[in-house]
Symmetry: C2
Subunit: 166 residues, 2 copies
Amino acid sequence: MNLQEGKEKFISTWGTVGSNWGINRTMAQVHALLLISNDPLSAEEIMEELQISRGNANMNIRALIDWGLVYKGHKPGERKEFFTAEKDMGEVIKKVIVQRKKKELEPMIKTLDEISAVEGLCKDSEAFCKVVHDIKLFSTKADKTLDQLIRSDSNWFLSTFLKMIK
Amino acid sequence: MNLQEGKEKFISTWGTVGSNWGINRTMAQVHALLLISNDPLSAEEIMEELQISRGNANMNIRALIDWGLVYKGHKPGERKEFFTAEKDMGEVIKKVIVQRKKKELEPMIKTLDEISAVEGLCKDSEAFCKVVHDIKLFSTKADKTLDQLIRSDSNWFLSTFLKMIK
DNA sequence: TTATAATTTCAAAAACTAATGAAAGTTAAT
DNA sequence: ATTAACTTTCATTAGTTTTTGAAATTATAA
């Protein structure tokens, strides 16, 4: 495997990882391409490199910017936009967590709260009551932990892992 | 919202949560139904309750058993199989992690190792070399942490969260 | 062993998700 | 104000994943 092949493999792998984390394959590949690119790239260059259409490139660059994983920039004398990726992996993970928490965890907690409010829940179905309670407990804890994480500095991961493994 | 509506809402919510975690919607709904059911259910009852086909029910029950989230059982005098869900949420999460780790993290680490082996990686592309290195570091750490977690007892979550938040 | 109840398989259909590309909309330099 | 470079939108098309249901297989009771 040479450098070029390595880059291609990386882009494709990051695409797979992303799609397992609720980030569409192309979105993750655009991010990967920008991650390993020394200089900012234009939409045109991204299209060319990944062999994707203009619309597709635009949509996914946009989504990456929304997630805070990619930044928009300009080069002096050039009219078009140039894009760079967030390269600090701690930040990348934090930003993914922010999105997933918002999209998944928060709505789930809200629903569990609504269900818990059902009259006579525990009286009428013990199993149901217990499951709802357990999941609520766990997800509330997860929610609080993730909040801490999001607020923490970039070295958080390292230190937490050490704490966890210790 | 009454008990019946609550149960339906729970099944549908758990389906959504699951599909965000690489578990197909129906598979998660079958799990949810078994979670909140006081007694073991037969395939027939699951089909009826969730309004799904025999094939679909079978496939997803099978997958849940493979993941260790559902257990197969028998009732005396009955020929058909009855199913129960793993109800300990700590165990549920552990089992999901085992699957996702195997499917995602391990192949990624393998690929990153292959890429790292590329001759002159760091000499020829600094950005690429750094990114690969960073992700490798992080994912190896995650891998080890998850191994610890999988081996740990069910109260691990509680204690770890307390450690994290402290 | 035979009949039959239950489970499994899998090709085809349906449902869902992502990508294309042409047209519409913006923006900025002249 | 006009034009040309660039970006965004979105209806259509392509690709992927899930579900169905009927047929094949397996297991049990008589």
